[in-house]
Subunit: 357 residues, 2 copies
DNA sequence: TACATGTGAGAAAACCTTTTCCCACTTGAC
DNA sequence: GTCAAGTGGGAAAAGGTTTTCTCACATGTA
């Protein structure tokens, strides 16, 4: 088989003149080569390979076999020029750190690789000019669609994507009106956490979370209040370990001490757990702690490992990918905000981890 | 200006028939539209826009102005078909977590965006079949080159890239023989760390690091031994905080206690610092600690914030990007391994942070 | 025998650019 | 008045693929 791949074969083909002009770059095998090798026209070759048109079954099979033998792969650029589909999408993100983008990207890629779609990743910080350049580069390359993702549900990317002539889907960032937006169901996630604490018999709960200016913080806090009952306490702060420490200091300095702490993210939870340990408070025997995010690098390294809420970002990416694909193919999609359920990941910071959920 | 963008303009253009066939998707503005609007041929339009050919300066300017007015952008697919350049490269990685890939990606993108190059990101876990699919998809899309990156200097990606007919550059992963490979200079990084400890007057040093099976671990350890002097101690372990704890327990259980600890990565350093604090050993007053990686999320959250070695991955990405571009343009590049220098990031875990380096 | 129908396959247009040639015209020199 | 040289611009091919149309031939029917 491999013998056909050599120069000898190509030179013998009908396109021998091409080899002379391509210079250094080894000329790729085109459908002309397939046609020549099979002794048919390129139209017939094309139809054989794409299972279209009319022809003898035997011819079709033979062409396919020969194409495989000589290692023919269609040129996506040429195909895209005609079909108006590039099998390419763009992923735009302002999440430099990749905390959210990477799982989303993995999901998109996972969903689309089977459809032959590749993904341009563009990290655009907060720079509108840079964003503009990247978007234009993607449009020039005829992307079939764009997925915009960010690090915050209630902020937009620093540019307007609403008037592009390609479909745009938003994931984990605020979308334009009338668009499709995927996000995690933070209220349901909070509910999972609180119900788990309740199930373990915790009665005196506190919610230690990030800045109230974040939409998801408010949403989680509201859900927490609703599920836990009115008398429960919420402490707003910042997204850092040190705020976790501080919050524990505050809580243990007076008033009734909690036996269950629901934290707004894993870093806060880690600060809380470290502070509790330093005070000699045992986790999970004396106090149960739940985090939010399931950021492995934090959650798995806390002592004890952290029970936390996973936002299923990969699944979110998968759905966003399938949706943008559907739109690119002209299938219509109901606009609106889709909230995807979170999942509780049980480790050891609450106890109950031997219950088998 | 915007008035020209409407359907009215396009319909009036010489290509009005196209609108009927494109159906839902709004037809893009092509060079035909520019030519029609300027009352010239498409060849002239092309030459005007690309500053090639011969024509009156006034004509050239007018064409450019009109093109800008109606918002013409050349179709990169069509251009690529002819020029054999797609202005697209692929980034292949097996670093699911993105710890190393994201900074490298940022550097590549940063270096290439000015050249109009976009980057396909393909995360291929350790799955050779998946890797193969991704590479073929990229080749079909005529990428101008591929950058392979990983999470470990001494491991290859699970597929062979050496016989592709596009240039391949390796970054932070082991490359094929005869290829160009970029990596950090771990020995020099270790030297920076040790010299800093020495400069601060630390005499009794220990190196607490990861598994000896890692090439970079051995390289750092060797450099450490060479710079610190022969009598110094090296503890090999794993890449985790708990190993940092364990190491401190070992060191403080007998023998001479160190006053300077150089850790193999930031997570170990964090474990070390936490363990020291728990023992009442003051950092940096009693012991100086240096990390490796400058992983912000870890280094900035330790108490005190961690002085650590940064591998300059972004710069590494930048150079890899420029190199693959050079190869794609046919410029020849000296093969071999290029070691890029590391940089010491001074925070507070060693003291000396007020020295202003 | 004449005609409709069906079958296999090829020619050519189309997608959008760039580039190579070539043509028509002007200018200047002899 | 003829010729050479220079100038502005257009026609057409090329790049690789898909799709539409057309053609030649074989088969079946009246």
């Amino acid at each position: 088989m491999t013998i056909f791949l050599g120069k000898a074969f190509l030179t013998a083909s009908s396109r021998e003149e091409r080899l002379d002009t391509t210079g250094g770059k080894r000329g790729r095998i085109t459908i002309h080569d397939v046609a020549a090798a099979a002794g048919i026209s390129i139209s017939t070759a094309s139809k054989a390979l794409n299972d279209t048109g009319r022809m003898g079954l035997e011819t079709r099979e033979r062409v396919k076999r020969i194409a495989a033998e000589i290692g023919y792969r269609p040129n996506a650029l040429a195909r895209g020029l005609l079909s108006k589909r590039s099998f390419t999408i763009g992923l735009l993100t302002n999440d430099t750190y990749g905390r959210f983008t990477l799982p989303v990207m993995a999901g998109i890629s996972d969903a689309l690789v089977d459809h032959g779609v590749s993904v341009f990743l563009c990290a655009i910080e907060e720079d509108p000019a840079l964003a503009q350049i990247h978007v234009e580069a993607m449009l020039d390359k005829q992307v079939d669609g764009i997925i915009a993702t960010g690090k915050r549900l209630d902020r937009r990317l620093p540019l307007d994507l609403s008037n592009l002539n390609v479909p745009v889907v938003y994931a984990f960032t605020e979308g334009a009106p009338g668009s499709v937006t995927f996000r995690s169901d933070d209220a349901q996630g909070a509910q999972l956490a609180v119900e788990w604490l309740a199930k373990l018999g915790r009665k005196r709960l506190v919610h230690v979370t990030g800045p109230e200016s974040f939409f998801s913080v408010r949403e989680r806090a509201n859900a927490y209040r609703k599920v836990a009952g009115g008398q429960q306490q919420v402490l707003f702060g910042v997204w850092s370990e040190s705020w976790g420490h501080e919050a524990v200091a505050k809580l243990w300095s007076g008033g009734e001490r909690p036996d269950g702490i629901f934290c707004g993210n894993d870093q806060i939870a880690r600060g809380v757990i470290d502070a509790l340990r330093e005070r000699g408070v045992r986790v999970p025997q004396d106090v149960s702690v739940v985090g939010f995010d399931n950021w492995e690098i934090v959650a798995a390294q806390t002592r004890p490992p952290l029970t936390t809420v996973d936002m299923e970002l990969k699944e979110l990416g998968r759905q966003a990918g399938l949706t943008v694909l559907a739109l690119a193919e002209g299938r219509s999609v109901e606009p609106g905000i889709r909230k995807l359920p979170c999942r509780l990941v049980v480790r050891q910071s609450c106890g109950g981890d031997t219950l088998g959920i």
